[in-house]
Symmetry: C2
Subunit: 510 residues, 2 copies
């Protein structure tokens, strides 16, 4: 019987386990400001890795970074009714620009009320659209391909760290094109960037596909997403890409003269990925000992812990460890120098070891005086933590052998995490349910952590779709997406009985 590092298991209480991982891995904490969290170094370090790797891919596909204002005048939002209605209920509004003392307190100065209130951006289509309308005059100015890394605010009433917070960090790409074809191609290209990034860097298998009408971004013609299966069987939308057609170009007047000299509205897109991805990483890879971070996004891939004894031998031990650290930093894993930390904090080695296990560092290397004397190190691999007898699986390895194998081990951890999640996802999508009763009985009988169901449907619209959505809601289910690589439909819609046109994923979701 293994004694795990956390005091709650996934099986016992998944929501509590999730929060425990965040706390025990020092990733984030409540800030005291409603709905906002403090992202601590280990959590932020993972975000920095995500930023670096995703930014490289965004730039490699021809986009440049810009920065647009945090505040958006109300009038910008009023121009596009569907968009503003989609966000109006959760907008933080700035109304004053000065504080004064009154009765021993500070209050907003009634004399410093803004003529027009400003909204703290929940997303930037409107303010970026206004810039595009200045930038785009001729077909020669197109395409415009930009991205920004920013904070956004959506005033959520029920928040959960990383998954749903009032303020969150993200990137939002915005592009303008001369034709529908080109804008649709961009939308799909960025969806593919998200898919490959999630799978290759975060080791998170995802299903890319189109959202149904009721799940579209406010103002979008088509919305696509990548959906990942968490260990409790719920779906997490981990990135979205929108074809916006002329919704924002007509609202913000983004017009260009085409090569025939006629004025046309530009076709725009937008796409985003956020700190939510870190919540997805936790629920994909975490286990009952804490987090497991895929090496490509780990702030530290190897942590070296010298077993210091506050005696004369410590200096030699530290030197020995520094040598290992330097040798590692000269090697490349996944095309970048290995990130190896030498942990010299004033704490017991065993406390450090378990701290790094809970944080999910891929490789933990401990070195005591005896190891050093034998030219060895003791290696713990985060994805292979216990022996069959339940004891910690730390192996004594010759220093040089460890250095020769380190890159291979990191690659193996990256692959093991992906393979495990991929096998779980594949094993938990049911594709043979042919009617609504079958759907109901699957979710009634599937136990605590049901998987996903992929069913055939006729793509109902409007009021007919609303009714279907209500029926799903009663089962706590939602539509996720129509997978790009789903098999063709051959039967009838399980919701309407009409001839089916495609297959769609149904799941509980975050």
């Amino acid at each position: 019987m293994i004694k795990h590092a956390l005091n709650v298991t996934r099986e016992a209480n998944f929501a509590e386990w999730y929060q425990t991982v965040i706390t025990e891995a020092d990733m984030a904490e409540e800030s005291g400001v409603r709905g906002c969290m403090v992202i601590r170094p280990w959590g932020y370090g993972i975000w920095e890795r995500i930023q670096r790797l995703l930014d490289d891919r965004i730039k490699a596909t021809g986009h440049e970074n810009c920065y647009f204002p945090l505040f958006i005048p109300l009038s910008y939002f009023e121009k596009e009714a569907e968009h503003v209605d989609g966000f109006a209920k959760e907008m933080a509004v700035v109304t004053h620009h000065r504080l004064i003392h009154k009765d021993g307190k500070m209050i907003p100065d009634p004399e410093a009320k803004l003529e027009e209130p400003l909204v703290v951006r929940p997303t930037s289509e409107t303010v970026i659209g206004a810039a595009f309308s200045r930038w785009v005059q001729s077909w020669r100015d197109l395409p415009v391909l930009i991205n920004q890394w920013a904070n956004v605010v959506r005033w959520e009433m029920r928040t959960r760290m990383f998954l749903r917070t009032a303020e969150f960090l993200w990137q939002e790409g915005h592009t303008a094109h001369a034709s529908v074809e080109e804008a649709r191609e961009e939308t799909m290209k960025m969806l593919e960037v998200y898919r490959s990034f999630a799978e290759e860097c975060v080791a998170m298998p995802v299903i890319a596909g189109e959202k149904p009408e009721n799940e579209r971004f406010p103002g979008a013609v088509s919305t696509y997403s990548i959906e990942a299966m968490m260990q409790d069987g719920k779906a997490l939308q981990a990135g979205t890409s929108h074809f916006l057609g002329t919704t924002f170009s007509s609202a913000q007047d983004i017009k260009f003269q085409n090569s025939e000299g006629q004025l046309e509205l530009a076709q725009t897109t937008s796409w985003g990925m956020s700190t939510r991805m870190i919540g997805g990483l936790i629920m994909t890879h975490g286990d009952d000992d804490g987090l497991r971070v895929p090496p490509r996004v780990a702030p530290w891939q190897v942590v070296i812990v010298p077993m210091l004894r506050d005696n004369d031998e410590d200096a030699a031990l530290i030197d020995y460890c520094k040598g290992i650290q330097q040798e590692l930093a000269r090697q490349y894993a996944f095309g970048e120098p290995v990130r190896a930390l030498l942990d010299l904090r004033a704490a017991k080695a065993v406390t450090k070891r378990w701290g790094w296990i809970k944080k999910g560092a891929p490789l933990v290397v401990e070195v005591g005086g005896r190891d050093m004397a034998g030219g060895n190190v003791s290696v713990t691999v985060r994805t292979d933590l216990y022996k069959e007898d339940g004891k910690l699986n730390s192996a004594i390895v010759a220093r040089d052998a460890f250095l020769a194998e380190a890159i291979g081990r990191l690659e193996a951890v990256q692959k093991a995490l992906y393979d495990e999640a991929k096998a779980r996802t594949d094993a938990n999508i049911v594709r043979d349910i042919a009617d609504f009763a079958g759907l109901e009985s699957y979710f009634e009988g599937a136990g605590k952590f049901p998987g996903w169901v992929e069913v055939e449907w006729a793509r109902p619209s409007g009021a007919e779709l609303d009714k279907v959505v209500e029926r799903l809601k009663a089962l706590k289910l939602t539509f996720r997406n129509v997978p790009n690589d789903a098999a063709p439909a051959t039967g009838t819609c399980i919701f309407t009985g009409a001839p089916a046109v495609e297959r769609i994923l149904v799941a509980r979701a975050y």
Copy 2:
């Protein structure tokens, strides 16, 4: 007579020249949101370079990045009177969290008024202090060394792009220590990080020193700055480092048990550098042809422009240029791979050339069919733009020779920019003024772009200092700092006649 690329010179109208550089180099533009700018790709690309290089130095000195909330509850500010009074006049205040439709417009929902208004952070000492009070219990938890990259808002009435905007981007470091000595050492260490970063990366000579009492950050015990001389002789404060003593630890209750078991208040510091640095870069290095970007912070160090003719030879020309780009990217300048862009946009080569000159790319390489046939390229170095006869100084160079010399040329441009600014700064600090009348007559007689004056003073305080500050204000002058490496004082204070204790810089300033 040289015909320069800009339609206004520094000499004719420095303020208009500054704005023209920003526009012509596509760095930033008005956003339509009061006091906020849009930072365009070339401006943001420089910021990304600054971020990368400064972040490396912040991490190398032991700091880790975190992220704290954008919003700060009013009650956090009320705890420290001096601090809140310093910022109260320019705070953006969020009062509502929802919009509703009313009479065809959107308004903040009166039913969704926040119980406690939230301030959009102007700086984060209060909210980070609250986190420190949770993190610090024992001397073993110290020091805490963290940094965040964030946007902040100060509601400025008179704004100027990069120099003073309502919203700006910065990094703010915050640390907590067990002793005054250690906190003061940290304050000076980060001041030195700023000095070396400004000089080595931005090629901007600066003077590091302590601010006088009247220029301290609200709540600080001591404030230090780096000050740079712009080409109009004005001073720009380009980074600050504050020793905060126990101001925020007493307000936010950051206490620790020392090794003797007694409770003590922690000693804290904070330090910041912002997008203002880009304004400083422009006014340090720009010339009448636009911006000149030091290679270390240039988004593209080499721009390759093939002279395309829309004919069959274009493909071979593009291949030839791609070969050069790839060879460059394999080389290292300043420890990083060379950043070389191949400019394939649909525009005339001459338009592109002058576009990149105005943007200040260090090296512009043009290649026509004849150059290719001869195995050559045409190189323009941004810091050596004209021949003696006033013609553009583009030189035909053998391709291989260019590739062999490219790193050396980039290093030479970096050095030339620094040397030029350093010589100008050194030549324009007057150190032999012995009384206030001398100060007055210097600034009256110094012409359009006066330099700085370093004078001896007795470090007056309180009301006595206020009077001195008023006298300087009448001359549009301010105290900059007491240079760390100034000569010792030997005479009398030019303001009070008392025995002088140190030397202080006086200047007009941004």
